[in-house]
């Protein structure tokens, strides 16, 4: 991977809201090169999306998240792919991972309430053919997510002026 691409990715990974001109200045290059690099990385599927990290707990909108471990019988010819697809197609499902260990898939879900999430698991998830069992874990507190610590100290503790 060439330097400019890598520099762009490391910079925007934590801060996707940066404008092209600023990015170009910070990386010591021009806007066109940056725009082209971004576009080609998007096309190649290296950049898959630009999301925003929100702490919903601080808003009035109710959200409940859960992590569900799912055990499945893998399908002939398709392994886990097909069952994963059936699960991730649901918009409530925010991530699906194939994992090593006692369970096969790790699914994360978001709903408006405990009841809604539980209902989803019992109605939609557990009932899929090939799902053998599920174990649901509700997220009680988010300390760090996507590389961002949720409650970082923001004040600058340094003396205002120093040599």
């Amino acid at each position: 991977m060439d330097n400019i691409r890598e520099a762009i990715l490391t910079t925007i990974e934590k801060n996707s809201r940066i404008d092209l001109n600023e990015l170009a200045i910070r990386l010591g290059t021009d806007e066109i090169s940056v725009a082209n690099a971004l576009e080609s990385m998007e096309n190649e599927g290296i950049i898959c999306g630009y999301h925003t990290m929100i702490d919903w707990d601080k808003t009035s909108i109710e959200k409940v998240s859960a992590l569900i471990e799912v055990r499945v019988t893998p399908q002939r010819e398709e392994g886990f792919d097909r069952i994963a697809e059936r699960i991730y197609n649901y918009p409530e499902v925010t991530s699906v991972y194939l994992i090593s260990g006692g369970y096969d898939l790790l699914v994360s879900l978001e709903g408006k309430s405990l009841k809604e999430v539980s209902q989803f698991v019992s109605d939609k998830l557990s009932t899929l053919d090939t799902v053998i069992s599920t174990a649901t874990h509700f997220i009680l507190k988010r300390y760090k997510d996507h590389g961002t610590i949720m409650n970082t100290r923001t004040e600058d503790g340094r003396e205002k002026v120093s040599p």
């Binding site: 002026v161 120093s162 040599p163």
Partner: protein, 387 residues
């Protein structure tokens, strides 16, 4: 009543930075944002802090050997070898000090006889001149020039040398200008230094924060290692300012004498910091590189902004300072900085805090997030519009 104080110390001018700091403190205004710090905004990387905490849990709270933990000295020599291709003996040529600051102080005390001349290129860090004066040395100031990108030239050095010159202090990468000395620059002054058989105190605390190729230490130049005290530390590269840890490497005979002073005056550098520093050297290369890249981006951003405002600024390739000129506004640095503070609530340090030749310049630190820098640049732009 008798005169209670040392005349020497009373006659040393108080730090220009201190004066400005007091003005800021007096304003006591939470709206004031500062671009006046000389320390990183990053926290010490967690794995380093963790190691320090662990060493406390393990009860490692005793004195270490005066010279510092052997493991640390070994790691430092390994580091200097792998980063700068320098070979030093951890046993006899390395001393762990309380920051680079202590190394500067005891280095001068070990080398100077009263009346010796010490060449100090300015603008530079505030400590060299006072520490030199305290040893009875006579500081000889060389005023560096913007047109030379504030690098020390062989001609300037030659002109400052007299039969009494003992030592040249080389602070590069430089605080406050951000200037670096590249290999050719160092080779040129080395010729002069060797010819006049001078000693060098090379303060390389910002060595890792170099943005044009790799830092070159003067100790790498043939004929120089035997006459150079190489001072470095953990404050800037590893964001460990408060840990107070630095080191000096140099010829065994000098290190021995410096260790003697250190033994009597300090005993040893903080033990917790030493253990943390071992971890830093072993596993901190990536952290340093990440911080360096972040500084580099901010540096580019600031240069772009200052030139956009029309404030002349040479491109600095080291440390985390930008040194723009305010000459075109017909004000002194002090006036500009004071008005900027009062009118726009932005604190920057006038160049004069670092030497008389800093007149007409400001030191702007970029040890701040891009967001803070944007805010600050907005205020400077507003201020300049009113001029």
């Amino acid at each position: 009543m008798r005169n209670q104080l040392s005349d020497t110390i009373v006659n040393i001018k108080p730090s220009g930075i201190r004066k400005f700091f007091d003005i800021v403190a007096e304003m006591n205004d939470p709206e004031v944002i500062s671009l006046g710090v000389g320390e990183p905004d990053f926290d010490t990387p967690w794995h380093i802090r963790d190691e320090g905490i662990y060493s406390l849990e393990k009860g490692r709270t005793f004195y270490t050997s005066n010279s510092g933990l052997m493991d640390l000295r070994i790691e430092i020599c390994n580091y200097l070898k792998r980063r700068f291709d320098l070979q030093y003996d951890p046993r006899t040529e390395t001393l762990i000090t309380v920051g680079g600051s202590e190394a500067i102080d005891i280095g001068l005390r070990a080398l100077i006889n009263p009346g010796d001349e010490v060449i100090i290129p300015q603008p530079c860090y505030v400590s060299y001149e006072p520490c030199a004066i305290l040893t009875g040395a006579r500081p000889v100031i060389v005023n560096l020039k913007a047109e030379n990108e504030f690098r020390l030239t062989a001609a300037e050095l030659e002109e400052a040398i007299t039969p009494r010159t003992k030592l040249v202090i080389l602070p590069f990468p430089n605080n406050p200008t951000g200037a670096i000395m590249e290999r050719e620059d160092l080779e040129a002054i080395s010729r002069v230094i060797i010819e006049h058989d001078l000693m060098v105190m090379s303060d390389e605390i910002y060595a890792e924060l170099t943005y044009k190729g790799k830092h070159v230490s003067i100790a790498q130049i043939p004929g120089m290692q035997e006459r150079t005290l190489l001072i470095n530390g953990f404050s800037k590269a590893y964001a460990m300012t408060g840990w107070r840890l630095g080191y000096v490497c140099g010829p065994a005979g000098i290190i021995e004498q410096m260790t003697k002073i250190h033994q009597f005056a300090i005993m040893c550098a903080p033990t917790t910091s030493q253990y943390a520093a071992i971890e830093a050297l072993k596993n901190g290369d990536d952290d340093v590189e990440e911080m360096r890249r972040a500084y580099d981006q901010r540096r580019r951003y600031l240069i772009h902004e200052f030139r956009g405002i029309g404030m002349d600024c040479f491109e600095p390739f080291g440390a985390f300072y930008v040194f723009p000129s305010v000459q075109r506004f017909g004000m002194t640095s002090d006036e500009f900085a004071t008005r900027l503070l009062k009118e726009q609530k932005l604190a920057v340090v006038p160049g004069t805090a670092f030497g008389e030749c800093g007149e007409g310049f400001l030191r702007i630190s970029y040890a701040y997030s891009i967001e803070s820098l944007k805010k600050a640049m907005g205020r400077i732009r507003e201020f300049v519009k009113t001029l």
